[in-house]
């Protein structure tokens, strides 16, 4: 019961925070709302039996990626942009987006409504870090290697792109 209630509350928080995030004029504010959204999402993960992922969501998304965003925004001293839903021109621009999104939403709703398995409940389940680790490093060892290479390439790429002045590249590249 508590868990269901928590799910809806957290879901609502996530949606509202995201909605606010994507409409902010000021990128810093957007990042703050997004961090909120990720916090809610992390708790949802915990609720859905993924404690490790919840922690990682916080550490990686909130603690690293968003910090990186913030860092870039501050470093470039980006001023608040005009392109929000506030002003006239941009408001018109949102109309096709809304339509498209609405269509997609309708499709999804229909799809889930038609699918009988959708009504089935998600059970309470818990994947301990140990289980998770075993699965990760046993069954997906190769994938881990590939991903680590991908990370390495990303680090090198980021380093290369950001080369002219900044010797130290975005630290996030190494994560």
């Amino acid at each position: 019961m508590t868990a269901t209630l928590l799910f809806y509350i957290l879901g609502a928080i996530a949606v509202i925070a995201t909605l606010l995030a994507i409409t902010r004029k000021n990128p810093v504010h957007a990042v703050i709302y997004l961090v909120n959204s990720f916090f809610a999402l992390a708790l949802l993960f915990y609720l859905l039996g993924a404690p490790l992922l919840a922690a990682w969501e916080l550490i990686i998304y909130a603690g690293a990626i968003m910090v990186l965003f913030l860092f870039i925004i501050m470093m470039l001293q980006l001023s608040p942009t005009s392109d929000t839903i506030g002003s006239g021109e941009t408001r018109r621009q949102w109309i096709p987006v809304m339509l498209l999104t609405l269509a997609l939403a309708t499709c999804t709703l229909l799809l889930t409504a038609l699918d009988p398995s959708g009504a089935e409940a998600v059970p309470r389940w818990y994947a301990s870090p140990r289980d998770f680790g075993y699965a990760l490093f046993k069954e997906y060892a190769l994938a881990i290697e590939i991903v680590s290479f991908q990370l390495l390439f990303a680090a090198v790429g980021a380093f290369y792109i950001g080369r002219p002045e900044r010797k130290k590249t975005e630290p996030g590249g190494a994560e």
Binding site: V15, T18, D83
Partner: protein, 101 residues
């Protein structure tokens, strides 16, 4: 039992669509990247939900890969943002129109 699966899916959809809308509508590179992050997280939510639904750990592992990928993507794209800002003095996508026909 927590919630019906479809609720979870709908939540993920809403989040995804919000991110999607953001990517389409905003012209600020940073905001577009934020939109992408939102979409990826929505996907992650689906995966975790699925993992819980089937009570298998694989979904969660996919999320780990997702996170790793996101990190890579963000580092590269933010580096590009810095680069573009340096070149154009702006991160408005409209200013990157050199190949316009």
């Amino acid at each position: 039992m927590i919630v019906p699966l479809e609720h979870l899916l709908i939540l993920a959809t809403i989040l995804f669509l919000l991110g999607f809308g953001c990517v389409l509508a905003r012209r600020n590179l940073i905001m577009i990247l934020i939109g992408i992050e939102v979409m990826i997280n929505a996907a992650g939510l689906t995966l975790v939900g699925a993992s819980a639904y089937w009570q298998q750990v694989d979904g969660q592992i996919l999320v780990v890969f997702l996170m790793a990928m996101t990190s890579a993507e963000v580092s590269i794209s933010l580096a590009m943002v810095v680069y573009l800002q340096r070149r154009k003095g702006s991160i408005d996508v409209r200013s990157f129109d050199e190949m316009r026909g």
